[in-house]
Symmetry: C2
Subunit: 250 residues, 2 copies
């Protein structure tokens, strides 16, 4: 039997946001590999082997999956959101690039999903309505200096900025360093959005002007949007919408 | 009967990539509004009114939809990809911001989808594996100078750059101006990806080094990735994968 590997995105958390293509690959898998929280999201199916693992072992997980493909297994690596955005797809190709030549002949598919940024944007309006960028604030794999440089250039470009992985136990000051940069570069009326667990029952979304932002407003599960200078808030009963107009007049 | 509006993303083209949430809203709609090519993608359902319209009438289309919601209709605006990325969601909120106060009380939902950038990335490997940005190259609504400025800053940040809407009949030189900037700022070995109609039978994806790029390689339906300086190509029988490593060493 010929094995294959699918690296799939489960979306932000709701079953309603898993594509039929991803559901089909899960139904055909013999083995499911992934970070324990994502593997635990799936209903257990008889005859399937589940291989949950911890954080920060992406390369080991990728190798484990490829070795199972070599023995004819049909392997799915599950990720949250989209597999290509700060998730497992790049780790798999890093391992292939560095591994035995035979791995290049494997049947490997990446199945896209709704990444956190798109899900969070949808819940608050249309903050990504103009040009935007996505920055992973974790400095595990790149120096903080580069993150800060990218942040400053993104502000100069007036991109809407989606920040992933803003903080963790090992980086308690991650977001306060971002606030320092923003306070130096932007006016206090700049709009920020803090989104957590979108499209789930635990959903929380806050819209806050920069002058009122505190570093305590984020944790590792928070997706942050830094609005462009043109981003606007529409107030309504009980809450608001945020959007970034398509047009820019210089 | 209380009306509502859902602005939904149909993904890149394959039915397999439409989320269950979007399918459900289409099944409940009384009226479906959108650019003619996207409305035509849907199977016709009895009892539903279809309102296809042409290009460049986004604001009229948004107003038409909101006026139907006011009369109790259940309206879906369909877009390709994700509704919040260079699509209809921002147009709807622009119209609401400028419209009668009552529109703010309407039940309006944005339902996310797989945007072209995520779909194209999945088909070629993991080009978005590090920080990235998305730029709409159309200068209908913003001056070319701003687009060029954003492009230069994005290159300085070493973002992977996803370019939407690179060319059109009215802008035949759109992409050649991008190539001029790239040739001035990058080495000839920089990796570009030209993706068209991904996840459909007409799919075409080309990976080309900057020195071999020609402006004829794009049309309005092409999604272009400009790799980061760190993006890598893995050659394999008949084709290749492209990925951007997660780590950056300065």
């Amino acid at each position: 039997m010929k094995g294959w590997l699918a690296i799939v995105g489960l979306g932000p958390g709701s079953e309603n946001l898993i594509t039929p293509q991803v559901s089909k690959s899960l139904a055909e898998a013999t083995d499911i590999v992934g970070y324990i929280s994502y593997v635990n999201r799936l209903p257990q199916r008889e005859g399937v082997m589940y291989h949950p693992s911890g954080n920060r072992v992406e390369l080991d997980r990728a190798r484990q999956a490829l070795e199972m493909v070599a023995t004819g297994q049909r392997v799915v690596i599950v990720t949250s959101g989209d597999p290509g955005v700060f998730a497992m797809a790049s780790a798999v190709f890093e391992v292939i690039d560095d591994g035995p030549k035979i791995w290049c002949s494997f049947d490997i598919r990446v199945l896209p999903g709704v990444t956190a940024m798109l899900a969070a944007a949808a819940r608050i309006g249309a903050p990504l309505g103009n040009d935007f960028c996505a920055i992973n604030l974790s400095d595990n794999l790149k120096p903080w200096d580069l993150i800060e440089k990218r942040l400053r250039l993104a502000l100069a470009a007036d991109f809407v900025i989606a920040c992933y992985n803003p903080q963790s136990k090992g980086r308690p000051d991650g977001f306060s360093k971002v606030l320092e940069v923003l306070n130096a570069e932007c006016t206090g009326s700049r709009v920020l959005i803090f989104a957590r667990a979108v499209f789930t029952v635990r959903e929380s979304i806050r819209v806050v002007r920069l002058k009122d932002c505190l570093s305590e407003m984020v944790d590792m599960q928070t997706l942050i949007f830094i609005g462009a200078s043109t981003s606007r808030v529409i107030k309504r009963e009980g809450n608001c919408w945020v959007y970034t107009p398509r047009a820019v007049v210089l």
